[in-house]
Symmetry: C2
Subunit: 153 residues, 2 copies
């Protein structure tokens, strides 16, 4: 089986378990595509453009996802004080509850895999994937190098 097949099947396995448990929670209206917002959200909100970049999708697609989350009460748009063109997407209280519930669920799934396949092996799996992703998908990584204070302006 080619490597991408294994990656995909493992991904699907996590997601099936995750969505199954989400569907039985009070956050049953959350869908997989919403993850791109929850995954990257920062304290003070994120611009649509940032969501799109880190999610490796177009602004239009990211906008749809945000519209959906706003309609469901998980997110809201606020004007960006630094740029009147931009809006900051922020989680509502309910959005934050969903986010931390989801993260907890995912951590539990990873822990269960550790018990099933060996904690060290799963830790190695994660470490290798992190190295790979740092090179192959750098756009997805947290900070797009917020310039150092000394470099500002």
């Amino acid at each position: 089986m080619p490597l991408h097949g294994l990656l995909e099947l493992a991904f699907d396995a996590v997601i099936e378990e995750f969505l199954g448990e989400m569907a039985n929670s009070e956050f049953s209206d959350i869908r997989l595509a919403h993850g791109c917002v929850f995954r990257h959200m920062k304290e003070n909100g994120l611009r649509l453009t940032e969501i799109a970049e880190r999610g490796n999708m177009t602004k239009q697609s990211a906008g749809e996802v945000v519209d959906d989350l706003v309609a469901l009460g998980y997110a809201e748009r606020a004007p960006d004080p630094d740029d009147r063109r931009a809006k900051l997407v922020r989680l509502t209280e309910r959005g934050e509850a969903a986010q931390s519930y989801g993260f907890r669920l995912l951590a539990e799934i990873e822990k269960r895999w550790g018990e099933r396949y060996g904690a060290e092996r799963i830790a190695d799996l994660r470490a290798t994937l992190e190295d790979v992703v740092a090179v192959e998908a750098p756009f997805a990584l947290s900070e797009p190098a917020e310039p150092e204070p000394a470099m500002r302006r």
Copy 2:
């Protein structure tokens, strides 16, 4: 970053490279979704139902993919001598050429990752994923336990 995010990004990275190289080959009309046929194809062909099972999709979806591959000249349908309801999906000569080209490409990508991130680490990655998939996604694995000769009948 949650584990499924890493798995997805790594998957996307392989696929982007793979599809990019396929697009520059003589098989530029092959799309990602076609993989479910090429990946599982056996010597004497596969029934639609088998393709659907191993690809974890409905018969209808598998049927669409096969229609597409037939239209593109990569596959053909032959009657199944053992069951007049069923048809065996087989690769054409061109289909076999595309399959082996694709497999070779994927093996090269994996080899490059070995050079970039350490051959042993990528081998471990594969081994761990194989264990995970064997438990979490057994439907995708080659033989649905063809009964042993002694157990037949």
